[in-house]
């Protein structure tokens, strides 16, 4: 394995896990909003 | 033979209803008046009936011998005058009428156009550019444009605006003529124009 490649790999993984975490949080937030909207309708 | 059927018309802008649940039927010989305060939706209602604005809900149907008229032919069914309309300023009055005859597909006939010009009292200035017309003359020409194809349904939005007393007589004659065989709807706040109607819809709540 060439030098430096593991560094790029680590950076990529960190970016992806950050992004995925953000998406999961966003998902939760939207779900909560949807619930309040559904409650308001009833 | 002709009829107009409006059912459950609603128009909504953002949160507020402009008008709600308007339903009526109209038959030849009938004149209907629509009154209401400024902003109550008189003009919009006429535009919806003419097919210029899509209603939020509800439908507008036009019938000829019991058959619904396709959208393509509505342009022959409806003649409309409104303050927001304009005719082509860089054409003369007669050229304007010629254009609308041709574009409506009813064939241009100079004689009958001159007869209409006579009827609205503009025969001396038929060759003048519309740019040089006064606002009252423009209003008369708009009336002529709406009558060109002898529409079964005449929609008049404030027909008397900018008109002098002679012009009001012209409007009166037009409505009387239309009553003989066609339908008309007048939207106005002028006592005198509203009184032309056999029925009145009041849009102000």
């Amino acid at each position: 394995m060439k030098e430096g490649l593991d560094f790029v790999l680590a950076v990529n993984l960190v970016i992806w896990s950050g992004l995925a975490l953000y998406l999961f949080i966003l998902d939760r937030k939207i779900k909560r909003l949807e619930e309040t909207a559904a409650n308001r309708r009833q | 033979m002709y009829s107009l059927k409006v059912s459950n018309l609603c128009k909504q802008y953002t949160e507020t209803y402009l008008f709600q649940d308007i339903s009526f039927e109209l038959h030849p010989g009938e004149v209907m008046a629509i009154s209401g305060w400024n902003g109550s939706g008189k003009s919009t209602l006429l535009r919806v009936i003419a097919g210029l604005v899509r209603p939020t809900t509800g439908r507008v149907e036009m019938f000829f011998k019991g058959e619904s008229i396709a959208r393509e032919f509505r342009r022959r069914f409806v003649g409309m005058v409104a303050p927001a309309f304009s005719l082509y300023e860089e054409l003369t009055a007669l050229e304007n009428l010629e254009f609308f005859c041709k574009v409506r597909g009813i064939g241009y006939d100079r004689e009958s156009c001159l007869v209409i010009m006579e009827q609205i009292g503009l025969s001396e200035s038929a060759g003048t550019l519309c740019r040089n017309y006064s606002s009252g003359m423009k209003q008369r020409l708009k009336l002529a444009q709406a009558l060109l194809h002898k529409p079964p349904l005449l929609l008049l939005d404030e027909p008397g605006c900018n008109l002098d007393s002679k012009g009001m007589e012209v409007v009166e004659n037009i409505i009387a003529d239309q009553r003989r065989s066609g339908m008309s709807i007048i939207a106005s706040n002028e006592r005198r124009e509203v009184d032309y109607g056999d029925r009145v819809i009041n849009l102000s709540k």
């Binding site: 060439k2 790999l9 990529n12 993984l13 | 439908r59 036009m62 008229i69 396709a70 509505r74």
Partner: protein, 229 residues
């Protein structure tokens, strides 16, 4: 939920495999060929969203269904995002492999045109005040833009020869390393999964916005007389 976790894990596996499992292709400076696993799927998603946006537009025009317009809009937004990502990653590779960030290679030209179309699409949406007209115009424009794409395919490659690697990097042709091919296909899958995830998030958000403005919803009994299509 399971699908989302799967996408997360799968993407991580692909990232690791892209650097550790696959071999660097011959004929490229250093390890630059590994861009394949990220750049090409990004471009693929950009194209896919263009297609989805056009389909959403067609459905909207036929049915006047608000959800279809939401689909067209959110696909266009994601398309723009992935277009920018693909342009950026491609540019970095171009600098390393061909010596300059931008070369007006045919695919670079096409992606610029795609970017311009997306830009125009959003400019149009923001310029039309009436919400219903906005949706109709945007849908019409999106269809018109889509119609011009085949002409681009015809026309653009003729101007300049492509710098893009064809044989060793095109999975449709023989000559691709089997390991590379596996990771590449996996990456396409991962990116498509990510795209669907993002798309659904955006759609749900647009739905929520629509609930606050009830006039967007009630359109079932429109006047349809004489609108034979």
């Amino acid at each position: 939920m399971i699908a989302k976790v799967l996408v997360t894990v799968w993407m991580a596996i692909i990232i690791v495999a892209a650097f550790l499992y696959a071999n660097a292709a011959v004929g490229f400076p250093g390890e630059t060929s590994r861009i394949l696993f990220f750049h090409v799927p990004q471009a693929w998603v950009a194209t896919l969203s263009f297609l989805i946006s056009m389909i959403g537009s067609c459905i909207y025009l036929a049915r006047r269904n608000l959800k279809a317009d939401n689909l067209a809009l959110s696909a266009a937004e994601l398309g723009l995002l992935f277009c920018l990502l693909a342009t950026a990653s491609g540019s970095i590779f171009a600098k390393a492999a061909w010596g300059s960030f931008w070369n007006w290679d045919p695919r670079e030209t096409s992606i610029v045109i795609l970017l311009m179309i997306y830009g125009a699409y959003f400019a149009l949406r923001s310029a039309v005040g009436d919400p219903e007209k906005r949706r109709i115009f945007a849908a019409v424009y999106s269809i018109l833009a889509f119609v011009t794409v085949p002409f681009l395919v015809f026309v653009v490659p003729r101007i300049t020869a492509s710098l893009h690697p064809e044989d060793t990097m095109n999975p449709a042709r023989p000559g691709m390393d089997p390991k590379t091919l596996k990771v590449f296909l996996g990456s396409l899958l991962a990116y498509t999964g990510l795209f669907i995830w993002l798309l659904r998030l955006r759609l749900r958000l647009l739905n929520l916005e629509g609930m606050q403005e009830p006039e967007f919803g009630a359109r079932e009994n429109m006047d349809r007389v004489g609108e034979e299509q």
